[in-house]
């Protein structure tokens, strides 16, 4: 038996295919552009190719994320809170705080020892767009987003980027460039800014596990989060896939009845 979980986010669409034992046998991540339905087809087609199974053999499909409603073949749709918690708990299997940092609104999710979500809180509306902000910052710094981390690592000090609002922060980046800050200092400032916004969402308790695409491409955010909170912060394996993996596990539950 194979099932799929699909996480349709504002920056990437991710599909994970798991077998009857919950083992990942196919995965794909495609950038979000145009219609979500097309991204879903592309990501799921690639993941099924890796799994070497046709779509018709999918016993269940669980969708999650911003555009979960855009998966016509979904047998269920669940919130990303639940799916990220499930994906993380499946790997860690202990009480923890999951911090999901994706393209839109990061979340702090408290999970008990049984894997149940006991509380969750997302960033307030005027501070959304965190992952997307890093993409915009890359444009202003004239580097590909994947280079932003190298730039930040090269900086000896951070240029302060402090606005709640990602649009205001973007203006701050331009202003810092005008004032002569280096691209590296600004890149590091952006990562620290995101860490600070996350620390404001809710009280964090050890152990902390990070999921979502931001830590996959910008691990400097996690480093800043650990330094500024003085807490132990770990990144889950394949963090960008945590939501889709959790969704796939729920699909498996459903297929098993």
């Amino acid at each position: 038996m194979v099932v799929a979980g699909v996480d349709l986010g504002t920056e990437c669409v991710k599909t994970v295919v798991v077998d009857g034992d919950g083992k990942i046998v196919g995965r794909a991540t495609v950038p979000t552009r145009g219609y979500f339905q097309d991204c879903f087809q592309e990501a799921t087609g690639t993941a099924l190719q890796e799994a070497k199974v046709p779509a018709a053999q999918l016993a269940a499909v669980c969708a999650t994320g911003f555009a979960a409603s855009c998966v016509p073949i979904a047998s269920q749709a669940l919130s990303e809170t639940l799916c990220h918690a499930r994906g993380a708990w499946h790997t860690v299997k202990k009480e923890m705080t999951v911090v999901d940092i994706g393209g839109r609104d990061p979340k702090v999710i408290h999970v008990d020892a049984r894997g149940a979500v006991t509380a969750s809180r997302s960033v307030r509306k005027c501070a959304v767009g965190i992952g997307t902000f890093l993409m915009f910052a890359s444009r202003h710094l004239d580097v590909h987003p994947t280079r932003l981390m190298d730039l930040a690592t090269s900086a000896a000090k951070a240029a302060p980027v402090g606005s709640y609002c990602s649009v205001f922060s973007e203006v701050e980046v331009i202003e810092l460039l005008r004032q002569g800050s280096t691209a590296g200092e600004i890149a590091l400032g952006c990562m620290i800014s995101i860490a600070d916004r996350i620390l404001e969402i809710d009280h964090l308790e050890n152990p902390i596990y990070i999921t979502g695409g931001v830590c996959e491409y910008f691990p400097g955010v996690v480093k800043a989060l650990a330094e500024r909170s003085a807490l132990s912060v770990e990144i889950l394996p394949e963090p960008i896939l945590a939501g889709a993996f959790g969704a796939a596990l729920y699909a498996l539950d459903q297929a098993r009845g």
């Binding site: 047998s75 269920q76 639940l82 894997g115 509306k125």
Partner: protein, 425 residues
């Protein structure tokens, strides 16, 4: 686990009494408007939890601008007109009832046209109490300047721990001080029996309205928060009148029938929630259907209980009005607020609390000083915070709210993962 279905309105209740409610509200609006146009009675604007009984006793027809603000929000006219008030210097960060109402006045738009009115009826006097916020005074003073009218009111205490006799005395003195101005515009003296009657009717209305709200302590709850925001109309705009009392007798009887029949609103009640803070007027229907589709009933609220005045006593009208105005939840400090919410959560057997953090209404957003976290720790009741606003939908994200509500209901289900093997291969 639930599949997240498209919300369906069929999951919600309808009320037989609503036909009478519509008649009553229409008669209220047209009655005040007629008095304003024909000068057949003095007309006053009053804040929603202000000292309306004084106005009733002096024969005023009374209009409530906050009710107009809610109508502007629910009809989504607010979004079209608020910018007019912003341009006049009324910030987008202050009360969006105020900016909606002043914007509507400037744009000459009003949902009251459905009742045949051209807009809010023009008053002869404006009467406020700052027991809920300072904005109401600024709001009324705009019109006082615009129309050169008297603006009078009570400058109240806020953030009260215990309501002391000295507080009550001070507000009583202010109420007494208002009487000459109210009499001058009305052209008559305040009649003591008339005031006692108005206070008695307000108290009766309050008691009946509380009985209606308390019917939702039953399982399933016959009246949801979303229904109650509509049903509370007479408790707001007709407080102190016999008509309001008659209406709530009718509604109470219908709710009793629903309790006996086990009819819930919504029909399916897997979970029961409490709502604290303002309604999100422009999304009332959407949120109602979303919660209903998730089998979740919002059974009680701080907001709808704001028109329950236990202290009112016709034997001591002014002093009891003063005490009632100070005992309101919105006028209290964090300690009494937490105790109130804990009591309500217990009495209504709720599975969780929803706090609406309304961007432009800090005085009625109770999550800004750690109350939600303290409550969660003390009572172990799960808490959800929704960012939004009463009228300014630019402060509300449909997608973020939907995701958070769905996640909260999933949390209430207490889903414990089945133990599948495997993982990252």
């Amino acid at each position: 686990m639930p599949t997240v279905n498209r919300p369906s309105r069929s999951a919600e209740a309808t009320f037989r009494s609503s036909a009478r409610l519509k008649e009553l509200m229409a008669a209220h609006f047209t009655g005040v408007d007629r008095a304003a146009r024909e000068k057949s009675a003095p007309v006053a604007w009053c804040t929603s939890v202000g000292p309306v009984e004084l106005l009733r006793a002096l024969g005023y027809q009374v209009f409530f601008p906050e009710n107009h603000g809610a109508l502007l929000g629910a009809s989504r006219v607010a979004g079209e007109v608020m910018g007019r008030a912003h341009a006049l210097g009324y910030s987008p960060d202050i009360c969006s009832y105020l900016t909606s109402d002043i914007g509507a006045y400037l744009a000459r738009k009003s949902p009251l046209t459905r009742y045949g009115l051209s807009g809010a009826p023009r008053p002869d006097l404006l009467l406020y109490s700052t027991n809920q916020c300072r904005e109401v005074r600024d709001w009324f003073e705009f019109y006082g300047r615009e129309w050169n009218l008297p603006v009078v009111g009570v400058t109240s205490f806020r953030d009260l721990g215990e309501v002391e006799d000295s507080h009550v005395e001070a507000i009583t003195r202010q109420l007494e001080g208002l009487i000459p101005a109210l009499e001058a515009v009305a052209g008559r003296r305040l009649d003591a029996p008339a005031l006692e009657q108005a206070v008695e009717r307000s108290r009766t209305c309050s008691d009946l309205w509380r009985d209606c709200l308390n019917s939702s302590a039953s399982r399933p709850a016959p009246l949801s928060f979303f229904d109650a925001t509509i049903q509370m109309g007479p408790a707001v705009v007709l407080r102190g009148t016999a008509e309001a009392c008659d209406y709530y007798r009718l509604l109470k009887a219908e709710l009793s029938e629903r309790v006996t029949a086990g009819a819930g609103a919504p029909h399916r009640e897997r979970f029961r929630l409490y709502w604290d803070g303002m309604p999100i007027w422009g999304r009332l229907r959407d949120l109602s259907t979303l919660f209903a589709s998730l089998g979740t009933s919002v059974v009680a609220s701080t907001y709808c209980n704001s028109w329950v005045f236990d202290a009112l006593d016709p034997r001591d009208p002014l002093r009891s009005m003063a005490r009632a105005s100070l005992e309101l939840f919105i006028a209290r400090a964090e300690g009494p607020k937490q105790r109130y919410l804990e009591r309500m959560a217990h009495e209504f057997s709720v599975d969780g609390l929803v706090f609406h953090d309304a961007r432009t209404c800090p005085n009625n957003s109770n999550v800004r000083f750690g109350l939600a976290q303290r409550l969660r720790r003390a009572s172990h009741v799960p808490v959800l915070v929704l960012d939004g606003d009463l009228n300014d939908l630019r402060c509300f994200s449909d997608e973020q709210a939907r995701t958070n509500i769905e996640a909260f209901v999933e949390q209430l289900e207490g889903a414990v993962p089945a133990t599948a093997g495997g993982g990252h291969g």
